[in-house]
């Protein structure tokens, strides 16, 4: 359980996190989602006691991180996979961290096996690919067998096999009753990993919702129709109060404002032949873009002159 109350972080005149309150529950994968610069990493750093909040507070299991008696046993974290001494062997890197919290040596072998790095345990970390570093970072988070796990962009640099593995791991960790917080700027990634979403934009909480709810609440729901009598159907739909957009193909139209059942009934009533009738739900990606449109830090201009 992670709880933030009125969390604010300012760096000089820049507000990185602006009055953030949330609670992250155990047993779920919570996705921390937002464009670059939204304040995801800063918030994670405050949860982990690396940065001090300008205002407000954040606790893990009811306690401020710095007051945890055995931090790695309670919280496992991966912030930046590359942040390690390249001259140290993978095994020794984990051993340093394990020792600091009185974790037994055999647990180091265990986590190396879990992440599939047992074969390179004796190699120095500077020779590792980004994907291997991510696995090593995840291994260090698992060392203390903690009830709370925090991962900042864990799939960065992983190959498809690795991405699948991380997803399965997150789901398994949550299924064991742990609290799992995963950040990403990729909505598509969160769509398949997370149960719950915290959407950030410009340091503010834009949405605190489940993945299903986010899609359902999106305004972009339309019906895709292919018909040899598309023009006639378009006219009937407009009469019924819907908005109709035509594409380059004269047989294809996108209908907004009525659902697919209604379109089907209209077509039947007027004897219109349908080749395709597809309800198009906004993808999570679109729902996300719509939410964060006003809070993207660096937006490309609409057209290039």
């Amino acid at each position: 359980m992670i709880e933030a109350r009125d969390l604010v972080k300012r760096y000089g005149s820049i507000v990185a996190v602006d009055d953030l309150s949330f609670s992250i529950r155990p047993g779920l994968v919570t996705g921390f989602l937002g464009p670059n610069g939204a304040g995801k990493t800063t918030t994670m750093r405050m949860i982990l006691g690396l940065d001090a909040p300008t205002q407000g507070s954040v606790t893990v299991g009811g306690r401020s991180y710095r007051d945890l008696p055995a931090p790695m046993r309670e919280v496992g974290a991966l912030l930046d996979a590359r942040a390690l001494h390249g001259g140290r062997r993978a095994y020794d890197h984990l051993l340093c961290l394990a020792r600091s919290n009185g974790i037994a040596r055999r647990r180091v072998d265990e986590v190396l096996r879990i992440v599939g790095l047992e074969g390179v345990a004796r190699r120095r970390a500077k020779g590792f690919s980004l994907g291997m570093s991510q696995r090593l970072g995840i291994a260090s988070a698992l060392l203390g067998d903690p009830a709370v796990l925090i991962f900042d962009e864990p799939v960065n640099g992983l190959d498809p096999d690795g991405i699948h593995w991380v997803r399965t791991l997150m789901r398994a960790l949550a299924a064991e009753g742990r609290t799992v917080l995963v950040s990403s700027h990729l909505m598509s990634e969160m769509a398949v990993t997370a149960d719950h979403l915290l959407v950030l934009g410009k340091g503010r909480l834009i949405a605190d919702t489940s993945v299903d709810e986010l899609v359902r609440s999106s305004s972009r729901q339309s019906v895709h129709v292919r018909s040899p009598q598309a023009a006639e159907l378009a006219a009937r739909c407009r009469e019924a109060g819907a908005a109709v957009a035509a594409g380059t193909d004269p047989d294809v139209i996108e209908i907004n404002g009525v659902d697919s059942a209604e379109v089907g009934k209209l077509a039947a009533a007027h004897g219109i032949v349908l080749f395709e009738l597809i309800p198009v739900r906004a993808s999570l990606e679109e729902a996300f873009m719509e939410l964060t449109r006003d809070s993207v830090e660096y937006q490309a201009a609409g057209a290039i002159r």
Binding site: P71, L79, G86, S100
Partner: protein, 276 residues
């Protein structure tokens, strides 16, 4: 890759865990120090430079002794000659001390370290203590070896010193102690400045550049500087002959320790307050 069993039991059945102790952090810092190659090389350099340079200086001076003037024969200090190399070996310890914390900042490892040990003062204390202990052992080995090798080379060409002579044992032990104080200073400097290059430059300035500049100052300025400059004052513990405008051995070492304590306190405070 498909093995996703994280623990034999779910978190509810996890074995009760004990709080992390200072001893755990000490073991962690020891593991950190011994698991990078730069430690081995820097410590080897300390011994090789300390003993080797001391031997070369002792041998050269001993061969020139017969032809030297009466006044230089009066100030003949075989102990100081044999320990002369340690002044340069100091640099290796300073660099290693600075690196053992500032390299964590440059690599980003500091974040993993502080997530593991969020009580930051504890991490700094453990790091300093481990490095000080290692330096004390290496420093004493270096100074005793340098002393015996130096005296063996002087013997037969010029008067030599023995450990039983007044002040000699204190000077040989003191050379290792002064090195240990410097080790703590360099860890504190690394924590304070966080950039390896900046912190190493700062240590070189404190150790070599500023004392050299002081030599160019008029007497009224130079004398108090050479008397109280921390590294000069601390060095008195390692000398047998008491020169003009220098502190007595133990008060001198006290000045050095006070300086180290002040820098350490500033480093501790800032480490605790700054975002990592």
């Amino acid at each position: 890759m498909t093995d996703t069993a994280i623990a034999p039991a779910g978190p509810d059945q996890r074995a009760a865990f004990r709080a992390a102790t200072f001893g755990d952090v000490l073991r962690s810092e020891w593991t950190k120090l011994r698991s990078v190659r730069s430690t081995f090389w820097a410590l080897t350099m300390t011994v090789v430079l300390g003993v080797g340079l001391g031997a070369a200086i002792s041998a050269a001076a001993a061969h020139g002794y017969a032809k030297s003037s009466a006044s230089s024969k009066l100030s003949w200090d075989p102990t100081a000659l044999s320990l002369d190399g340690i002044g340069i070996a100091t640099l290796a310890i300073a660099v290693l001390g600075v690196l053992c914390i500032s390299s964590e900042y440059s690599s980003g490892m500091i974040r993993a370290s502080l997530i593991a040990v969020p009580k930051r003062g504890r991490m700094l204390a453990a790091k300093s203590l481990v490095f000080a202990a290692v330096t004390l052992v290496v420093g004493e080995v270096t100074s005793f070896t340098a002393f015996f090798v130096g005296q063996a080379l002087i013997s037969g060409h010029a008067p030599r010193a023995a450990l039983g002579d007044p002040g000699v044992a204190r000077a040989v032990v003191g050379a290792g102690l002064a090195l240990t104080a410097l080790a703590v200073l360099s860890v504190a400097a690394g924590a304070l400045l966080r950039h390896p290059a900046a912190a190493i430059a700062c240590m070189i300035a404190v150790l070599f550049v500023l004392p050299a500049i002081a030599q160019a100052l008029p007497d009224s300025w130079r004398n108090p500087v050479t008397e109280y400059w921390p590294t000069q004052a601390g060095g008195q513990l390692a000398s047998v002959h008491h020169a003009a405008n220098t502190l007595q051995p133990w008060p001198g070492f006290g000045v050095m320790c006070l300086f180290v304590a002040i820098v350490y306190a500033i480093a501790w405070t800032l480490l605790d307050r700054r975002d990592a």
